[in-house]
């Protein structure tokens, strides 16, 4: 192998490092639950397309519990929690509980590539210009809110969670 042929390998190595995978991204969250919001402020409305071109409005889901996860493909703790989120969704999908993943600032292609590595069957919405996230009380990724059937913010998680943990699912199911 000559030196020139090593360039793609080096770029791949750098990309792996750049993704944050070498940084010990997330802490152990196996014991964490969701933080209740006693004042339950109204959830800001959004209208966003998903990666298949369908439009989703938060108000379309009134009457259901909605787990709204803000994330990005380059965010290691976002990637770390996504499989648990998928497993959680599989357990509650028939219980009038909806999961929406709102990607911040990326393209369909970037999200599509992500779903090649991570199976996600709930809707992935695109907030390309970050207008939606700016309406929400969010300062870092990932942040997830659980919206109750009346459209109020009931729970919050800053950072990743083990979403399929029974204690976490119980919190979500109790909102129905």
């Amino acid at each position: 192998m000559n030196r020139l042929n090593l360039v793609p390998a080096l770029l791949g190595f750098l990309a792996l490092l750049a993704s944050g995978s070498g940084s010990g991204a997330g802490p152990d969250v196996s014991g964490e639950t969701l933080t209740a919001l006693p004042d339950k402020p109204p959830a800001p409305e959004f209208t966003l397309p998903d990666i298949d071109g369908r439009t989703h409005r938060l108000s379309d889901y009134r009457g259901k519990v909605v787990v709204v996860n803000f994330w990005a493909t380059w965010c290691p703790p976002c990637r770390e929690e996504m499989p648990a989120m998928q497993r959680a969704w599989e357990q509650v999908r028939n219980d009038d509980i909806v999961f929406l993943g709102i990607n911040v600032g990326e393209t369909e292609d970037e999200i599509f590539a992500f779903t090649g590595d991570y199976r996600v069957d709930f809707p992935l919405l695109m907030d390309r210009d970050s207008a939606a996230i700016q309406d929400w009380p969010i300062r870092g990724l990932p942040t997830t809110y659980v919206v109750d059937g009346e459209g109020h913010l009931a729970y919050r998680a800053i950072g990743g969670r083990a979403w399929d943990r029974p204690e976490v699912l119980d919190q979500i199911r109790a909102l129905r």
Partner: protein, 201 residues
């Protein structure tokens, strides 16, 4: 990188001469050789991990920055960072403001370069919106309120040249009380470039 792969150079919670556990641990990743420093005490965990300037260049070039701007970011001592409220459920929230954190290097005092600093710069340089969005959200938030168990992950920037050394004093508030921690002799990653392994040539 699984935590089990992280080799700790200095043991966690080394005992100081006074008999108190040292809240700072230094570690190194055996594969990347990047160092990390971790403070874990008083219900707060702060972990900062070196990022090679080339890592940072690659990350931001892939997100729409031009070479000059990616070089500029990479030259400002970027760490991967995590801040977490590790207190028990009843301990209450922690608030943190990176504007209050201080660093000292070669006798000079400094501050972190926070989102607001960079936001102004990118507006002046007319950086594309998608790149600005990625940059903004990839940084540790300037202000945040952490419930027990909450954490944020993101880059922090110290405004120093590669390979610089500095001490960091970081602060937070819990139940109205100001607390602080210190990590000494932190090293910004050197600006080295991975070389091909001659064995593969």
């Amino acid at each position: 990188m699984p935590a089990s792969h992280i080799m700790t150079l200095c043991g966690l919670f080394l005992l100081s001469p006074a008999g108190f556990a040292d809240p700072v641990a230094l570690g190194i990743d055996p594969e990347t050789r990047l160092k990390h420093w971790e403070w874990n005490a008083d219900g707060v965990l702060l972990r900062i991990t070196q990022r090679l300037p080339d890592q940072t260049r690659a990350f931001f070039l892939a997100r729409g920055f031009n070479q000059a701007d990616a070089d500029h970011i990479a030259g400002n001592c970027i760490f991967q960072s995590m801040f977490r409220n590790t207190g028990p459920e009843a301990s209450g929230t922690v608030t943190s403001d990176l504007n209050d954190w201080r660093l000292s290097s070669n006798g000079k005092q400094g501050r972190l370069l926070v989102r607001e600093h960079w936001r102004k710069l990118w507006a002046e340089r007319e950086v594309p919106q998608s790149a600005r969005i990625a940059f903004e959200w990839s940084l540790l938030p300037t202000q945040q309120t952490y419930a027990p168990g909450d954490y944020n992950w993101g880059m922090t920037s110290y405004g120093l040249p590669p390979d610089s050394h500095f001490d960091l004093v970081f602060t937070w508030h819990r139940n109205g009380r100001r607390l602080e921690g210190k990590i000494g002799n932190i090293q910004c990653a050197p600006d080295i470039h991975p070389e091909p392994n001659p064995a593969n040539e």
